[in-house]
């Protein structure tokens, strides 16, 4: 599965420009899905199974897009000004490298700062693509770029850009491959534009009209020096989300997911995330409302070019997802 993860995280897919990721996933899942379609915004939707007695129409969603940046201006000396796409922060940009959609590479740096203990805002940063004038700059206003950082295998721990949320894409692909028999009509959605406001999940959940929704995404951890206030650690299993900044999980579904993990001997953690949200928020609010929760992969350094997950958590997330989908789901 590590090879698949590497392919996924190293592919290019800032929000709105997920085509390369979608092609890669399509090739992986084609033999395993009963039906595959791409919706008007570019969500990839793969169905497995049909709704049979005791089954539900279940929507899963892992987003294909990653944070990135978009060029706003090329100055007379060929420096590229930009704004972020999604929740990138200046502190993780300076000194980093980016790849534009047309292949142009560059490094981000900053205007001279008067106070070295203050981070510059984005309007003080620029990308240097090696050009010396506007005319020889390969980047134009509106071109998007993704952070460029190779996959790093540290054994149990894996590091890369775009673990958020390709690691969950990998989990959904593996769960689909593993799922032989299900009473449910399961829609594996690989969504677009999550990082700019879970937009792909709004339209895909409207079209699917599910009985139950589960997003698969990364979550923060509380296990780093003076980190966030959170009882989630790498290596202690995938999480069952209780709440995040935009969504309260259905308590019945939280119980069902937790009980399923316990019965199957799969380690899991309960997740209370104070900020941020996932596709589950949009699914929950679709049409007349949908019971939802989220299975998260604990991830350090989210929205930096070096996001770290634990491979065992990834495998346990696949196991939990497959287990949940192969039997009836009771919301009591």
């Amino acid at each position: 599965m590590k090879a698949l993860i590497q392919k996924l995280v190293e592919s290019f897919g800032p929000s709105g420009y997920e085509d390369a990721v979608r092609e890669l996933i399509t090739a992986e899942i084609k033999p395993y899905a009963d039906e595959i379609r791409v919706d008007p915004l570019g969500n990839l939707i793969a169905r497995k199974g049909i709704k049979s007695p005791g089954g539900m129409r279940v929507m899963l969603s892992a987003h294909m897009d990653e944070i990135g940046l978009i060029a706003t201006h090329v100055d007379e000396n060929g420096f590229v000004r930009f704004i972020p796409i999604g929740g990138a922060r200046p502190i993780t940009c300076v000194g980093g490298r980016v790849r534009f959609i047309n292949g142009a590479m560059g490094t981000i740096n900053s205007e001279r700062m008067e106070a070295l203990d203050k981070m510059p805002s984005f309007d003080r940063l620029y990308v240097d693509v090696g050009a010396s004038s506007r005319a020889d700059c390969k980047v134009h206003v509106g071109d998007v770029a993704a952070f460029d950082r190779p996959f790093l295998d540290l054994g149990d721990r894996l590091v890369s850009k775009a673990m958020d949320d390709r690691i969950s894409v990998a989990v959904q692909i593996e769960a689909l491959k593993r799922l032989k028999d299900t009473p449910h009509e399961v829609y594996f959605v690989f969504s677009v534009q999550e990082e700019v406001g879970t937009r792909g999940a709004i339209t895909s959940s409207y079209a699917i009209d599910p009985d139950l929704g589960l997003s698969v995404d990364v979550t923060l951890t509380g296990d780093t020096p003076k980190g966030v206030k959170m009882d989630v650690s790498l290596g202690k299993g995938p999480t069952v989300k209780v709440r995040d900044g935009g969504m309260l999980s259905d308590p019945r579904l939280v119980r069902w997911l937790s009980d399923t993990a316990e019965k199957a001997g799969i380690p899991y953690q309960l997740e209370v995330l104070e900020g941020g949200t996932t596709d589950a928020r949009s699914i929950q609010l679709a049409r007349a409302g949908v019971p939802v929760s989220c299975i998260s992969i604990p991830c350090r350094y989210v929205h930096s070019p070096s996001e770290m997950v634990d491979y065992r958590d990834v495998q346990n997330a696949v196991a939990l997802l497959a287990k949940v989908l192969e039997q009836p789901i009771l919301l009591v």
Partner: protein, 360 residues
């Protein structure tokens, strides 16, 4: 109709008649939520040409022009009718009213501006303490909205009431190659869409939405898109041209758009990532036909596309704006040529669009 020269020959033109219509639209009062004056002009213009016209529950005008081909692309085009303005909040009982702003208005621009209140366009002025009486240091502070009053004079006192809307009193003018007036954001778009309905190409089903309440969060466009359920959407709007020199002489890196550089195609704003296929259609159309265009700088702001693209199962969307200086102040100033080129680009893109554009 593949011949590129032919397209431009049959493309609708902006002449005296269109400018006169824009003048009426600009001078009409249509602050968000009270778009009736603008809607009346739109309906009057559309009735002779559009097949189906409907005013929906929120006040959007939804007009359909059928195609003359089998299974045409169903293209929604939207332009918002509303403008930023004011609402009277409280009466001081002597002809002055406290008020609130409707939509994005910089309160620093308001003192001394003439406005028109209510359906009868009662003239009023936004007042504050004059310079004679201003104490030292006072000019350095922003006057808060709560300290401003809209003064209708005792003459208008009985014609206006709390809850009435007010708009800027600016009258439309043509000045050389430029047009200036209030509410050109987005009566320019409304006038453009009226021309497109009148000259709708026969290869697409044109679903024209003249929307309400854009300036307070694209509220009308969402329900219009839900009703039309189109294959794709193109939004016509007005966007700021912040192309004046920077005060310290440095390079202006935040111009948003530039006057005279043609229609501004959106790639990204706060509400929408425009569909790359539709961006390409517009850019290729401009390149092939020699119609100037520019890309709006990615950044904040938004259009009706933000609400449209997330309706139902998703609607691929793009926006095109006519650049204008001093947006959301009493006077917006734009170039006639940019308007003409916007109309030409949109018309030509409609003629050239093929259903295959949406195939992945």
């Amino acid at each position: 109709m593949g011949n590129e020269n032919e397209i431009l020959q049959i493309a609708p033109q902006i002449g005296a008649e269109q400018i006169a219509l824009l003048e009426r639209l600009s001078n009409a009062s249509g602050v968000s939520g009270e778009e009736a004056e603008v809607r009346a002009i739109v309906l009057e213009q559309l009735k002779p040409v559009a097949g189906e016209i409907k005013v929906d529950a929120l006040g959007n005008v939804l007009a359909t022009r059928k195609a003359r081909v089998e299974q045409p692309l169903r293209v929604m085009m939207a332009a918002h009718m509303d403008e930023v303005g004011f609402m009277l909040v409280d009466s001081d009982d002597n002809g002055t009213f406290s008020f609130d702003v409707v939509g994005g208005i910089d309160v620093r621009t308001l003192v001394g501006k003439p406005v028109l209140v209510g359906k009868e366009h009662v003239p009023a002025v936004i007042g504050a303490k004059p310079i004679h009486l201003t104490e030292e240091g006072e000019t350095e502070r922003k006057i808060p909205l709560d300290a401003l009053r809209m003064d209708v004079g005792l003459g208008g006192k009985n014609k206006v009431k709390v809850g009435d809307r007010a708009c800027y009193a600016t009258r439309f003018e043509q000045v050389g190659p430029s047009l200036r007036g209030k509410a050109l954001d987005n009566r320019l778009g409304v006038a453009t869409l009226i021309e497109l309905v009148k000259h709708a190409p026969e290869n697409v089903e044109l679903l024209a939405a003249f929307t309400v309440q854009e300036e307070i969060g694209a509220r009308g466009a969402g329900v219009a898109a839900y009703a039309f359920n189109p294959d794709l959407a193109i939004v016509i709007d007005s966007t700021p041209a912040n192309d004046l020199p920077v005060w310290d002489g440095s390079e202006n890196a935040f111009y948003n758009t530039r006057l005279g550089a043609g229609p501004a195609i959106y790639i990204q704003d706060a509400g929408t990532l425009a569909d790359p296929r539709l961006i390409r259609l517009l850019a290729d159309t401009g390149d092939d036909l020699g119609i100037p265009y520019q890309f709006r700088q990615p950044g904040s702001g938004g259009t009706d596309a933000g609400a449209i693209h997330r309706q139902r199962a998703g609607i691929p969307s793009v926006s095109v704006s006519i650049p204008g200086r001093y947006a959301h102040t009493p006077v917006l100033l734009c170039r006639l040529a940019d308007w003409q080129n916007t109309l030409a680009l949109l018309y030509a893109a409609l003629v050239r669009i093929k259903p295959e554009i949406l195939k992945r």
